[in-house]
């Protein structure tokens, strides 16, 4: 492999890298894709769904493709505001999502990423496993000017290419090394841990009210990460459950939280315990998610370089995999144009940036930039809202002996005792944006 030459080398074989490699290979570019683990997906973790519409932009009717490791089609999406022994539940269950083109599917990354990279390989990309790139190489074009000429692997081999696509995920070592990404603060990321719990499919369907290959997702706030701002969640797979919990890293550090303890505590909640009863842990995973948002988006292109996916901080709310796929697609389009022009300069590649700026998620990220700030200022807002909603719901559903007028007055009184009503409203508004239920 040493000293081979390609049009493009893609660093990282996750959803962003494989999307880019697949579409570039479709456009007849020669592509090398580097994976530092023994196979794509071997180092990757996420909550657990892919969204249908974005994925169809790359592989139309992907659900019909042979061997695709989809777990369950998600027909039920819920948000629980969890208190110590109660929950206020919101959500939507719809049979509509059970038919093509579907809404989303649960996946397990160690299966899905491998399959997806294989699609890029089938299209003509070359995949190198166990392959860590440690730097970029440059070719001198003048006294002061230089041009990207590929990547150096540990051990010194070089893979030459006119374009390097950095799809290296949240840690983004090369993106940082070449100065495109500024150093992140712990407030700019969340840390999540996950367990995969084996459970027979019949039990899953029974416990989550599902039929056949239907699936459910439950997101949870409040109790799972109390006293930090974060989320818990459960995803149904074919014959396992994914359970996830995590929070902003600065809050984990400052509040003395241990992620594994958060997981144990979450799993022992009376309403969670019932869902996972008898399920056997088979995997334990952990990963950071770049949450720096709009303000921390790195320089997205440079001469001969494009940054995509998590390395480019492309996260909006709970959407990450689909944004990785779409940015991979944009990168492939920019690369095809650059190859046609035989010009991989920043100016040509900036069509990638234009595509991103015109996308739906860029607008969402721009709007969402205050949400993260809000939650770092009011770190008690999740707790307050969850508490308030649970107390109110308890009173609302309780059969007591008072007339409705008095009941309502007492409920409002209780809310006011917690904090001013306006602040509660604001917490709820920002909360909804953070939990991404709209």
């Amino acid at each position: 492999m040493g000293n081979d030459r390609y049009d493009v080398v893609v660093v990282g074989a996750g959803p962003a890298g494989s999307s880019a490699a697949l579409l570039m290979a479709n456009n007849n570019l020669s592509v090398a894709m580097l994976e530092r683990g023994p196979y794509p997906g071997s180092k990757n973790m996420s909550g657990g769904t892919i969204a249908s519409m974005p994925f169809q932009e790359i592989l139309p009717e992907y659900w019909n493709i042979d061997g695709i490791p989809l777990e369950r089609k998600i027909v039920s999406d819920e948000l629980w505001m969890l208190d110590n022994d109660s929950a206020v539940k919101m959500g939507f269950s719809g049979k509509k999502f059970g038919y093509a083109p579907y809404n989303k599917f649960s996946i397990l990354r160690y299966k899905f990423d491998k399959w997806y990279a294989d699609q890029a390989v089938a299209a003509g990309a070359k995949l190198f496993n166990n392959c860590l790139a440690i730097d970029l190489v440059y070719h001198k074009t003048g006294l002061l000017s230089k041009k990207v000429d590929g990547v150096v692997l540990e051990g010194g081999d070089i893979i030459h290419a006119d374009l390097v696509v950095l799809a290296e995920g949240s840690s983004a070592a090369l993106t940082q090394k070449i100065g495109l990404r500024q150093r992140l603060n712990p407030a700019d990321m969340t840390l999540y841990v996950k367990e995969v719990l084996e459970l027979p499919s019949g039990k899953i369907e029974e416990r989550f009210s599902l039929e056949g290959d239907e699936g459910a997702v439950i997101g949870m706030v409040g109790y799972p990460t109390s006293p930090a701002i974060g989320k818990g969640g459960i995803w149904t797979n074919k014959d396992s459950l994914s359970i996830v919990v995590g929070a902003y890293l600065n809050q984990i550090v400052n509040k003395g939280l241990n992620p594994l303890q958060l997981m144990e505590r979450f799993k022992s909640h009376p309403m969670i315990k019932k869902l996972i009863e008898g399920a056997k842990p088979i995997k334990y995973l952990a990963h950071t998610i770049p949450k720096g948002g709009f303000k921390k988006i790195p320089t997205l292109v440079d001469d001969g370089v494009i940054v995509v996916g998590d390395a480019a901080e492309m996260i909006s709310g709970r959407r990450g995999i689909d944004l990785a796929m779409i940015t991979g697609k944009f990168a492939a389009e920019a690369a095809a144009q650059a190859c046609a022009l035989d010009d991989y300069s920043r100016e040509t590649l900036s069509s990638y940036v234009k595509r991103i700026k015109g996308s739906f998620f860029y607008e969402n990220m721009r709007k969402g930039k205050n949400v993260e700030e809000y939650f770092n200022t009011y770190q008690d807002s999740d707790f307050l809202i969850t508490k308030a909603m649970n107390d109110l719901a308890f009173k609302y559903f309780k059969q007591d002996l008072e007339n409705n007028k008095i009941r309502l007055r007492k409920m409002i009184e209780e809310l006011k005792n917690m904090q001013p009503l306006q602040k509660t409203g604001k917490d709820l508004l920002y909360g909804l944006q953070n939990w991404e239920v709209w």
């Binding site: 071997s42 860590l132 840390l191 550090v253 303890q261 144990e264 842990p281 995997k283 952990a286 950071t288």
Partner: protein
Amino acid sequence: MGNFAKFDTNPLEYVKIIPDSKSHIFIKDDGICIEECENKPCTYYCPTRVFYWEDDSIKILYKRCIECGACPFGCPYDNIAWENPRGGYGVVY
């Protein structure tokens, strides 16, 4: 401080790790851990407890690392250097 000592499960029982012969995690300056770092947060925010405090310095069990990427950012003194393990080594999910 949170109460993180109330469980005795070991999640590494079901994690596959191919350890390299040398560490990919380093403390840049032991002096900072002794003199400036009061809480030693790396000993609790790491999801697999790679770090522990013994004999006046942070000890690193790099073979427990599952590469979440949090440690270099969570250290309040930017005193942890973390690199990707060599190709093919480390965690395999």
